[in-house]
Amino acid sequence: MWNLLQIELFKIFKKPRTYLAFAIIAAFIFLIQLGLLVNGKDWMKFMLGSLDETMNIDYSKLVNGYAVCFFVLNLLLVHVPILVALVAGDVVSGEASMGTLRLLAAKPVSRTQIILAKYLATAVYVFALLLWIAVISLVVSLAVFGENDLVVAKTNGLQLIEANDVLWRYFFAFGFAFIAMMVVAAISLLLSVLSENSIGPIVATVGIIIVCTLISEMEIPIYQKYIKPYLFTTYMLGWKGFFYIGSTEDGETIKGSIQYLPGILKSIAALLVYIVALVSASVFIFRKKDILS
């Protein structure tokens, strides 16, 4: 199994496509950072428009490394699934279309192991991708913009998390994002097992995410009640829950707290169920599959 995993990793990280994702992310984050460096204060003022009339706010402190990272993640994490699909959608079907799958499957390794090794290799890729995002969006932002309290805007109000209460939230948020991305990877894997070309699963994964997100966001009662609770996209944004701080009755934040931990745990559980189901289905189908490519 370890051998197989090493081989799969080797294949993934020798593929130019893999590095495309890293380059896209770096370019995207640098663009946001540059924009905020130049216009961050104005942008914050615009964001907090109505509040500016009643409150004095130190906007230069508001645009800090933590806030920049939070902003980046909000924009970026919605799109990372595409980059995950780019690699995960290719792991089986790419080999089928290249013709190497038949060589691989005629070797003395079990098909279950092949799928699990491919999924684990994808997990390493996703981990590397998120680590890359963390380094650029968090470490670089902190270096450039400095450290200060994080203000999170929600539709029903603002909340302030003290600077020394932020970092652990990012750790958990990235951890959560990892689980969410592994669901995407599992969808891609399943589609990849079912397909013989590599574009299909990538496009299909993105399509599924778009449709599910739309249904999740549409506030149509029948969807909200009967479909939404079962869609994985409903749980994908759970990482934000770590930035919803708990508070007392009169609105004083409680350091180190999370407003609603059960909601996050439920999301994690739902996503793990998705992963287990999708990977099991992939293994089951691949074991039965006649390799004709």
Partner: protein
């Protein structure tokens, strides 16, 4: 001599299509076993079943005396294969490709061994080049290296000369003979060209529409002095049983649909006389074409005359 491959009543059905239908054959140790059939005859499906790429609908496969489905891992360690086109990881170097498949075959391959292997197929100087820069012939050679890197006992080559130029075809032929004669490997080689099989194989099978037409020693099957004689009786099965008790048993063809014997034409009157004595009512005696003619006729029907032109 023991059987390396024993296939019994193997069938594979894709939806309504019987790609392989009740196929049985045996490959003995040291054979270069030709697998002959036109395109779509079921060669590839059969070979893929030998390599566990396709699951049989019915029948059994025994390799090295073990059941393939229950001893897959042990058996495949001793099998090397080139399946159709030699497709490899294009974005990896020749060396990396070889290293990956060596590892997958469960052997610890050091650099020296891998380089020797590449040298054997004349690619040692291109070890670091990406496969996408290779010509078809080079890919084929690398495919052979991949198939042989773990020193397997059984080598399966599916249409190994496809897409090769005449020099490449000759090289392939020499390689097969080298592996067989000098290294004592058992080899299964498939082709749609009788001429190819004839030059390398000692035994062969011809399949058509998923069914076995004939299996036997190449020298005997292609012996121009012998031809196939088909005898129509009132009860072929009973006649077959009776003939099995006689000296003609060895000439009987393994074909359940018709009663066929491979024999010299001069011996036909004697056979008829004996059948009469055995009280087998003979309705007709029909001399068939030679095997070569027969195979040619199959492929001609399918419009593959041009394949035989060279």
């Amino acid at each position: 001599m023991s059987s390396i491959i024993k296939v019994n009543n193997l069938s594979k059905q894709f939806n309504d299509i019987h790609a392989v239908n009740d196929l049985s054959f045996t490959v003995e140790e040291g054979d270069v076993y030709g697998f002959l059939g036109q395109n779509g005859a079921g060669k590839s499906t059969s070979i893929r079943m030998l390599l566990t790429l396709i699951k049989p609908t019915a029948g059994s496969i025994t390799i090295f005396g073990k059941d393939l489905s229950s001893h897959r891992h042990d058996i495949l360690k001793q099998v090397g294969a080139v399946i159709e086109k030699p497709d490899l990881y294009k974005y990896l170097s020749a060396y990396d490709n070889l290293a990956i498949f060596a590892k997958l075959s469960g052997i610890k391959a050091d650099k020296k061994l891998l380089m020797e292997q590449l040298k054997m197929v004349g690619l040692d100087e291109r070890a670091g080049s990406k496969v996408k820069t290779f010509s078809q012939g080079m890919k084929q050679r690398l495919g052979i290296a991949v198939a042989l890197v773990h020193n397997p006992q059984l080598i399966i080559l599916d249409e190994p000369t496809n897409g090769l130029d005449p020099q490449g075809i000759a090289d392939m032929r020499n390689l097969i003979l080298h592996l067989s004669r000098e290294l004592g490997k058992t080899i299964v080689v498939s082709s749609h060209l009788l001429s190819e099989i004839e030059l390398v194989a000692n035994r062969m099978i011809i399949i058509h529409k998923g069914k076995k037409i004939v299996e036997g020693k190449v020298a005997e099957l292609l012996d121009p002095s012998k031809s196939l004689v088909q005898i129509e009786t009132t009860n072929d099965a009973e006649a077959r049983q009776k003939l099995l008790q006689t000296k003609w048993a060895g000439l009987l063809h393994d074909n359940n649909e018709h009663l066929q014997l491979k024999m010299n034409k001069e011996d036909v009157p004697q056979l008829i006389a004996e059948m009469v004595l055995l009280q087998v009512p003979v309705l007709s005696v029909h001399p068939m074409h030679s095997l070569e003619d027969y195979f040619l006729s199959l492929t001609t029907q399918a419009g593959h005359v041009e394949s035989f032109a060279n």
